[in-house]
Amino acid sequence: MTARRTDRNADSAKLTEQERELAQLRAEVTAWRAKAAALPLRPDANITSVSGGGVEPAYTPLDLSPDVIGATGLPGQFPYTRGIHPTMYRGRLWTMRQFAGFGTADDTNQRYKFLLERGQTGLSVAFDFPTLMGYDSDHPRSEGEVGKCGVAISSLADMETLFDGIPLDKVSTSMTINGPAAMLFCFYVAAAERQGVDIAELQGTIQNDILKEYMAQHAWIFPAEPALKVIVDLFEWAAEHTPKWNTISISGYHIREAGATAAQELAFTLANGFCYVEHGVARGLPVDSFGPRLSFFWDIHNDFFEEIAKLRAARRIWARHLRERYGARDPRSWKMRFHCQTAGVTLTAQQPHNNVVRVAYQALAAVLGGTQSLHTNALDETLALPTEESVRIALRTQQILAYETGVPNVADPLGGSYYLEALTDGMEREAEGLFAEIEAQGGVVQAIESGWFQRQIAHSSMRFQAEMEQGRRTIVGVNDFVEEAEGPVNILKVGDAAERTQRQRMANLRARRDDALVTERLEALGRAAANNVNIIPAMLDCARAYCTLFEIRHVLEEIYGSYREPVFF
């Protein structure tokens, strides 16, 4: 009794002591802030973040949330602010995954082998514009674009060539494709079957995120509701047949590249994520049946701390919403896994070698933010697709970070930084505010159809452009530190040969396949779509019969219709 009373007295004495210290700190910080505010500012200083937010001259313990322990947790623990694995990169480094594709499937197959031989650990397919839009290489609308910005894949035949000599049960493959995502996924699954691989072992990611296409990247085919229906079809089918496959990569990258701020990228992307969850649940799928296979993709821009805070906040918000709002019980549904890519929009055509440095800082931010995989841009990507040399430097940038800097040894090494924790909290607050605005717009789909997201993004983009043009934001080599005479840089040229080769390949394919089977399979797909059943099995049958991309698109478009963008500027 007596002992306990003494403890309590000691506790209360301690509390009073702490309160006194806190009050003293508050007074000191207030006085210090007043003094700091009166100090002169460097004339070329821009003390706002890249996103335009205000930044204090320094941060103190007073900037930490009262519940900092609960809000951050330990690495590998809810709400995963500090990372999804307890020891992060000690157990396994991030996957170094360079996005690549150009010309024909043969050309790109050789680039993949080049990258794999140099220590790259995963593949990432860049498709050309016709493929992204669901057009075959020999379609009139593809003229001049075949193989230019990525690889042309018009059927299973091209997919087989793309992965020739690359065992699909041994590599993980990411495919950046959205409008026709399910079609390319079926080509991939059929190619794996042809290799004799057990499709249950397939590992990789299909981007399959149509909502951000309407907002930013603009490679769409169908209107939102049928497009969302096919996405949920893929969730459902993959849960049963390809359980290790990430069925979607919910992407902030393109939203950011289109000019959004970090908080807009964060909030719009998460809102899209919630929209997919809601569509899955509305189908009757238990959230934990598809939740663990949802993955994300973030842009890593120039503002170092802002980007790290964005990644930490993203994990925390996702975990909280999945558990509390959607009732997920499987911790794998709470853990946000993501890929990062350094920001293409920050690369400059002027003095392009400086881009190596920009990319290195951005890569560091991605790793400090706990990414699962990373693409580092090559220095020449504002000029053309990258050369082998520039891609090698980009990959080496990651390897230097992984093996020479010591950064991967500690999980979330910046956790507890007054500034970073305050920024992370601020990001979360800003995102929650934007969720409320999206709700007020009638939800994600309605806010897309009214052009609300597109206007928000355009507004931020114009603000940044104005800051740059007025010299309020310095971009080295562009609006300051300019070199008058710059030497040329060697760039990769993709000529018209790929287009000619592809047309020939398509002619050969059309001549040798079983036309009756093609027609039968396409009709079956049309029936599946019209009857509103899961269309993936019928689509996979089309892929196996060498139906082409556009043939599949065309059948579905007859039933689903086409998306029309709201045009404005």
Binding site: F129, P130, L132, M133, Y135, R141, S142, E143, G144, E145, K148, C149, E213, Q217, H218, A219, E257, A258, G259, V345, T348, A349, Q350, T382, L383, A384, A458, S461, M462, Q465, E469, I475, V478, N479, P488, I491, K493, V494, E565, V567, F568, F569
Partner: protein, 144 residues
């Protein structure tokens, strides 16, 4: 159609069609440029995405524009610029300035200029450069 240099044309602002030909969906640059030209006092029409050269030339004639600005980041510039230029000539509008920008290597810019396309602009160009170029072109071509 009003011939270049006719007095009826002088008082009106320069009319510009900003267009996104082909399948490329990168429209940040096109929208930034469209807004900057509008803010500089020009009348700007923006086509939206995924336009064919035929759609663009038709819109240029219908909107009676002086300038067509194409934004191409897909590598298809050697096909799309000459096609739009040629269609405008066929539709009786050879006087229209076809300019633009995007990711276009310098040697391709030169080759396109030799085919009658105007000046082309690369990434990082301040919008003031385009405004100045179009205003100068208009001063020597629209008012004489």
């Amino acid at each position: 159609m009003t011939p270049a240099g006719s007095p009826s044309r002088n008082p009106r602002p320069i009319r510009v069609l900003v267009a996104k030909p082909g399948l490329d969906g990168h429209d940040r640059g096109a929208k930034v440029v469209a807004a900057a030209l509008r803010d500089a006092g020009m009348e700007v029409v923006y086509t939206g995405l995924h336009q064919t050269p035929e759609m663009i030339a038709t819109a240029a004639v219908q909107e009676d524009v002086d300038v067509v600005g194409l934004s191409i980041l897909s590598g298809a510039h050697m096909t799309l610029f000459p096609r739009v230029r040629q269609l405008l000539e066929q539709m009786g509008r050879p006087d229209t300035l076809v300019t633009g920008g995007g990711i276009i290597p310098p040697e391709d810019m030169t080759a396109l200029q030799q085919q009658g396309v105007g000046k082309l602009f690369g990434p990082g160009t301040p919008t003031s450069d385009l405004i100045e170029y179009i205003e100068q072109w208009a001063a020597s071509h629209l008012e004489s």
